[in-house]
């Protein structure tokens, strides 16, 4: 799976998590679980972006050499 695909997928999952959290009948434990999951997905998304930026940076340096 490409980074873009996994990013999109994670973003989709994040949206699902948020939709679930917006339900009124979600309990505290479940809410915390969802929040944890959401934060994890957010971090993963951000990491994918950061990694990708680094990779491009490297690619640009290679091209310059």
């Amino acid at each position: 799976m490409s980074q873009t695909q996994s990013f999109e997928k994670k973003l989709e999952q994040l949206t699902k998590v948020i939709n679930q959290m917006e339900q009124t009948d979600v309990g505290l434990e479940q809410s915390l679980k969802l929040y944890e999951q959401g934060i994890k997905l957010t971090r993963e998304c951000q990491k994918i972006i950061a990694d990708a930026e680094t990779k491009i940076e490297q690619l640009m340096q290679q091209a310059d050499d």
């Binding site: 980074q3 873009t4 969802l34 959401g38 957010t42 990779k55 290679q62």
Partner: protein, 446 residues
């Protein structure tokens, strides 16, 4: 009955009608096109119009070039490339090419080659939309076939980095100009194609016509058409047209435009991520507050029901009850006490003087005793007197003195009156020594 013109003998075309229809059709069916060939049978009218036949080894077609501002000298036998459209010279029904532009093929070698190749490939169907592949909606993995030294690559990488850094880029370096560039590009494309990327970007920045000529290679065109991976071609600047652009699945006018296209709407996704992150925090805080509130309200409820509180309440109730009891008891007690006091006082007040009573009683008893004694003595005396009296009164004593008592025999009743008896009644007369019985013989009144 109306029929289509030319379909029946009654409705036959006239030559002019047919020519008009042909002319119309020709104009509609063919736009302008490039045509190349050798000039033959050239004639220039005094008005400056030029008529010639353009032919190749087998065939020819009449051309007319009306007087233009830029007078291009034409020579019989020269190779030219013309841009024109088909028209019909109706007075004679001659088909001719109306020349709009003409170029010397000898002078514009590259242009001519380009035109020829374009025509050839067009006929082969390489530019047809139906043969082109669609770009995937999301490009995750991109092959870039270009020179690592070129400015195009830097532009592309900069744009992708800022717009969508997630795209995994693989560079397939190749020279993009020079005589040996085309086969190297071909090779790079093949290698890239085998790596199964989502798309291949074939690009180079702007340059001279000669610099860009590499991308007008016939073999390269076929190669691009055959690739399994969708190809984006972005060669040169906006004004440059290349065979590679024409044959590629997607064409972008510049490398930067290609990078923008490839990046897609990732910015939106990134923005969405930020929004979702904030929303997530808000939601969880909201949830926590909600639960906190619920816990608080329940805690409060529980506290209210805590045994010690209940105990306190009960204690208080007990206290109140006790108080009430005390109050009612003490008031009752007080009342009783008062009553008692009252009674007691009354009792004390009403207490008879026992001693006096006792003395009185004694007196009474004395008196009684005295009375009884005197009465007794009186009675005794009276009795004595009575006895004496009685002794005096005893009839026996009277009898002794000669008196008798006569009573009726039948009922022993003492006769004191003569009425008590009648003649014949038997009577008994008591005497001192005994009794005698007699019969009434006669009653004598006094």
């Amino acid at each position: 009955m109306n029929t289509q013109p030319g379909q029946t003998t009654q409705n036959a075309f006239s030559p002019s009608a047919l020519n008009q229809i042909l002319k119309k059709h020709l104009n509609e069916q063919f736009g302008s096109f490039w045509l190349t060939g050798e000039i033959f049978e050239l004639y220039q009218s005094p008005a400056g119009h030029k008529y010639f036949t353009l032919k190749d080894s087998q065939s020819g077609i009449k051309c007319v070039m009306f007087k233009q501002k830029q007078n291009t000298p034409l020579a019989k036998g020269s190779q030219v490339i013309i841009l024109g459209n088909l028209s019909l010279y109706t007075p004679k029904g001659d088909l001719q090419v109306n020349v709009l532009r003409i170029m010397d093929a000898g002078k514009g070698d590259l242009a001519q080659q380009f035109m020829l190749l374009k025509q050839k490939l067009q006929q082969a169907g390489l530019f047809e939309q139906k043969n082109k592949q669609q770009l995937p909606s999301m490009i995750g993995s991109l092959a870039i076939v270009t020179s690592p030294k070129g400015a195009a690559l830097q532009d592309i990488l900069n744009i992708i980095k800022s717009q969508n850094p997630l795209i995994e880029i693989t560079l397939y370096p190749t020279p993009v100009q020079g005589e040996d560039a085309a086969p190297k590009i071909n090779h790079a494309l093949r290698v890239a194609d085998e790596a199964n990327h989502d798309a291949i970007l074939l690009t180079r920045g702007g340059g001279s016509k000669e610099d860009l000529w590499t991308f007008n290679d016939e073999f390269l065109a076929h190669q691009i058409a055959q690739l399994e991976t969708p190809v984006i071609s972005a060669v040169g600047h906006e004004t440059d047209e290349s065979i590679s652009d024409l044959v590629a699945d997607v064409t972008c006018i510049t490398p930067s435009a290609a990078a923008q296209l490839i990046s897609g709407d990732f910015r939106q996704s990134k923005h969405l991520l930020t929004q979702q992150k904030q929303l997530l925090s808000l939601l969880v805080q909201d949830k926590l507050r909600l639960f906190q509130q619920q816990v608080d309200s329940r805690g409060h409820a529980i506290e209210k029901r805590h045994p010690s509180n209940l105990l306190k309440q009960q204690e208080a109730a007990l206290g109140t009850a006790e108080q009430k009891l005390n109050n009612s008891f003490s008031s009752k007690w007080l009342a009783l006490k008062n009553n008692y006091q009252h009674l007691h006082t009354a009792l004390i007040n009403n207490e008879p003087d026992l001693i006096i009573q006792h003395q009185r009683l004694k007196q009474f008893r004395q008196q009684l005793s005295n009375n009884i004694k005197s009465q007794l003595s009186d009675s005794h005396q009276a009795l004595q007197l009575s006895i004496n009296d009685l002794n005096h009164q005893n009839p026996l004593n009277v009898l002794a003195r000669g008196f008798s008592i006569t009573s009726r025999k039948q009922d022993n009743k003492v006769i004191t009156d003569i009425s008590q008896v009648k003649d014949g009644d038997e009577v008994v007369t008591q005497l001192k020594s005994g009794r005698i019985s007699a019969k009434i013989f006669e009653r004598l009144e006094k």
